[in-house]
């Protein structure tokens, strides 16, 4: 059977919707299929890789003229996933356009019972002060044996395997420049 890319997407779209809706069934009528095509017609396609497990499935993200994500679906050209996605990957759209996502810097003062919204500039300035204070107070040039260690004992840093390689590389460089040795992430768990 010859499957074109577009017909493949229709099939995989129907299957996936069935999965996400908990197997309630899906009336895959031509009308709905036509509607689905219209929604992404003219949209910009960007390829990405799923953000959940390590299979590395390909995903196509559709954005409208204003740059808003209007659809996500499996990338049929991807050699590992061949267009398929699991329930999580299928729900990527709901992760991107999620009303509960953080959109502001939040701050909780000592002994406070609530969050306060803050600007990036305020937060960066205050965090830098905290980092410097903790680092200066706990920096150790030599250990008990008199060996040079040049490390910051009072700060720990963790994370993250959700971020890109380039971001992770920058993060470890930053933490090591600060002198941290307590550096860990999910691979240890």
């Amino acid at each position: 059977m010859k499957i074109t890319r577009r017909s493949f997407l229709k099939i995989s779209g129907a299957t996936a919707a069935g999965t996400v809706m908990g197997g309630l069934g899906f009336d895959f009528s031509p009308v709905e299929s036509y509607a689905q095509e219209l929604r992404i017609k003219g949209a910009k396609e960007t390829t990405t890789v799923c953000c959940y497990c390590s299979v590395g499935c390909g995903i196509i993200v559709h954005t409208d003229a204003k740059g808003k994500v209007i659809n996500t679906e499996g990338d049929p050209d991807h050699p590992t996933s061949e267009g398929a996605l699991c329930a999580k990957g299928m729900s990527l759209y709901q992760l991107i356009n999620n009303k509960d996502r953080l959109t502001k810097v939040l701050y909780r003062a000592p002994n406070s019972t609530k969050w306060e919204e803050k600007s990036w500039d305020w937060a960066l300035t205050e965090m830098a002060k905290r980092i410097k204070k903790s680092r200066d107070a706990s920096f150790t040039e030599k250990n008990d044996k008199g060996q040079v260690v040049n490390r910051t004992n009072g700060i720990a840093g963790i994370g993250s395997c959700h971020v890109n390689n380039e971001e992770g590389w920058l993060y470890q460089k930053f933490l090591r420049a600060l002198g941290l040795v307590y550096i860990e992430m999910e691979a240890r768990l």
């Binding site: 960007t46 390829t47 990405t48 953000c51 497990c53 390590s54 590395g56 994500v69 050699p79 699991c86 329930a87 299928m90 991107i96 999620n98 996502r101 953080l102 959109t103 939040l106 701050y107 002994n111 019972t113 969050w115 960066l124 830098a128 905290r130 980092i131 410097k132 204070k133 903790s134 044996k145 060996q147 040079v148 910051t152 009072g154 720990a156 840093g157 963790i158 994370g159 993250s160 959700h162 971020v163 890109n164 380039e166 971001e167 992770g168 590389w169 920058l170 470890q172 930053f174 933490l175 090591r176 420049a177 600060l178 002198g179 040795v181 550096i183 860990e184 999910e186 691979a187 240890r188």
Partner: protein, 843 residues
Amino acid sequence: MTNSWTDIGVSDCILIMGSNAAENHPVAMKWVLRAQEKGGKIISVDPRFTRTSAKADIYAPMRSGGDIAFLGGMIKYILDKDIFFKDYVIHYTNAPFIVSDKFDFKDGLFTGYNPEKRAYDKATWVFDRDDKGIPVKDMTLQHPRCVFQLMKKFYARYDLDTVSSLTGTSKADLIKVYETFAATGKPDKVGTMLYAMGWTQHTTGTQIVRVASMIQMLLGNVGMAGGGVNALRGESNVQGITDQALLFHILPGYMPAVNAAFDNLEKYNATTPKAVDPMSVNWWANRPKYIASLLKSFYGENGTKENDFGYSWLPKIDVGQNASWLFMFDKMFNGDFSGFVCMGMNPACSGPNSEKTRKAMAKLDWLVDIDLFENETSSFWKGPGMDPKKIKTEVFLLPAAMSIEKEGSITDSGRVGQWRNKAGEPLGDSKADGQIVHELYTKVKELYAKEGGAFPDPILKLKWDYAKDGKVDFHAVAKEINGYFTEDIAEHPIDKKAYKKGTQVPNFVFLLADGRTSCGNWLYSGSYPEAGNMMARRNRTPVASCNIFPQWGWAWPLNRRIIYNRASVDLNGNPWDPKRAVIKWDGTRWVGDVPDNAVPPMGLPNGRYPFIMRPDGVGSFFGVGMADGPFPEHYEPLECPIEKNPLSSQRINPAIPLFKGELDKYTTCDPKFPFVATTYRLTEHWQTGLMTRYQPWLVEAEPQMYVELSLELAKLRGIKNGERITIASPRGKMWAKAMVTNRIKPFNIAGQTVHLVGLSWHYGWLVPKDGGDSANILTPSIGDANTMIPEYKVFLVNILKEERPKVEKKPEPKPAPKAEAKPAPKPEAKPEPKPAPKAETKK
């Protein structure tokens, strides 16, 4: 993974053990099923009958924690039947090596054990060597002290009766699994092993992976298409971030962390692995090039030959210091940290012994949390049992951009780096994690430049030129990781060609130890050469014989898709299995996948051994580098249902460190906690659930915490399917919906009935409403002897009819805080179950 996802599709036999691939890596499961369609056999070994088991040709139930016994029994089976792959074992492994006569193993202990330190002196775990230092070998494998004979003697104890009694797997099932998998020991048959946290999250986790690797070497399955030992990693970029070394014990590219004994670069380089056998490639001999290039990527022009390229600016751990997760949170609980930076993680739910983790954070002065959503870590101060007014910790919760709102590479489980493109702008004020790091570093640097402070050099002299107009250019970082020449080179020692300063190095072969190259991670060198971004490639032309896609993305090292592939050919370079050829020596060069080094196969002039990362050039049955013994031995989990280890008088792994703080409560063989619990993941949720618990579709599919238990246990405790019950361990209590199922059966272990309950662990008190809390409220702070990965897969619990808050209101005399704070007198003493945490009173 040694191999790739797609090449699983050419395998003859797939042992899935310590993994529930169908549930947790569902899309990759298609390659397992493709192999099955072609006649391949799927074997599922799991304490529960899982979605993977449902697709398997053979399902064998096994008690959680019985893995080494189960697999050790397979080694005995293979050796007894004499069906191992002889040419492979003799030439490609250390089976013929003669071990020192001072080495011994008695009653669960190897020579050199120090009970006070709970550690081994490994001085006797060595090979006899000739006057040149080359290991003495007996290629007939007959010498009584050769590795092969020692291994045979060691696993002779793992007979079918013992293994069956210990694991609860029937002898018939054991034989079926052993027979089916061992059939791949023929040159033209190949089997693969897929594992995940079901192997690693044990106090013997590393040794479980080792015993599996030993089987794969006995059967000649390492390096083969459709073979290998494959860790199905859990997170989209956990492979990549491990490679980038966001871990205390390594630097990028698996170079060891710098410690206090190595106070200059020369001393660090003196620990470079050395090979005495001229037939060993010993690739790690190149390490001085990689550390010098890494330092250049850290400090740029500020790192010079005179100052060891800035080596002294790197922070150093003490010799023997363990700064891994469990120690980190133990120190935090003891108030040793004032600050904590947490990027994209949720330790309040993901670390073991949640009460300890959550209380530890209350000892901090400040916490920086970077995430997509509010989470149980950022908000620990308002969580169950917490009084915000008494918690001093300041929290900065920074909004992170989604993966599709930025660009960069991630590395899948098969080591394939793929580039993610930017599809939209970050939502609201959110920013890419890397952008946040850049802005924070810039602020800290400004502060040190202005005010000075403790040892400012590593901050002020850091090379950090990745931003244009304040925005990080992630291509610039990717190029930094690949590496470039820092000076014009008239004639490069490798290819005699000229290279211009500032041009990208072609790959790590071109790196130099003298500061003329910079490289952020040697393993990724080749990912972004002058030709461009290899990780962004989308050409799906396959190598059909092994079903790999070498022009899709880019795999480390050097785009090699199947590592150790020089073991897939005979001594003359001809594939053991021509129809599944990975590489082949055509008389002058290798053809096929990128070979594991270009040197000829070991049987030809100038040939070299196949395992190039090992100093001896061969695979190790006898593993001298392990913390807990050169051969994997079964020990019981920290918390186990039987009084005695059937194999020795060492009940638990003798080399695991024990924590003795007030919240480190352990028990064993305890009538108060009579059932074994294990934890696992579901398709519809992910890790602590932060990226799935906010999505209505997924919450509708899996709305709350549940516990699976057998029909027999439900009957025993009068529990009905669907009712809320309480699960208690020595660390805490929580509720879950009971799922009474025949997917779990009671085990018969050493003559007694042992019940297992299974818990998903994706939930947290914050969201969804009434979804339950993390199963890690129950798990102990204990880790594997080599990696310190926590033992999430086995611990003891009780299950009870739900204790509603009103029941808990019954006045109980509170134990004096002093008494509770007293450390347990003995590590394995049975502490009283602690009073119900206030967490249970939540509405």
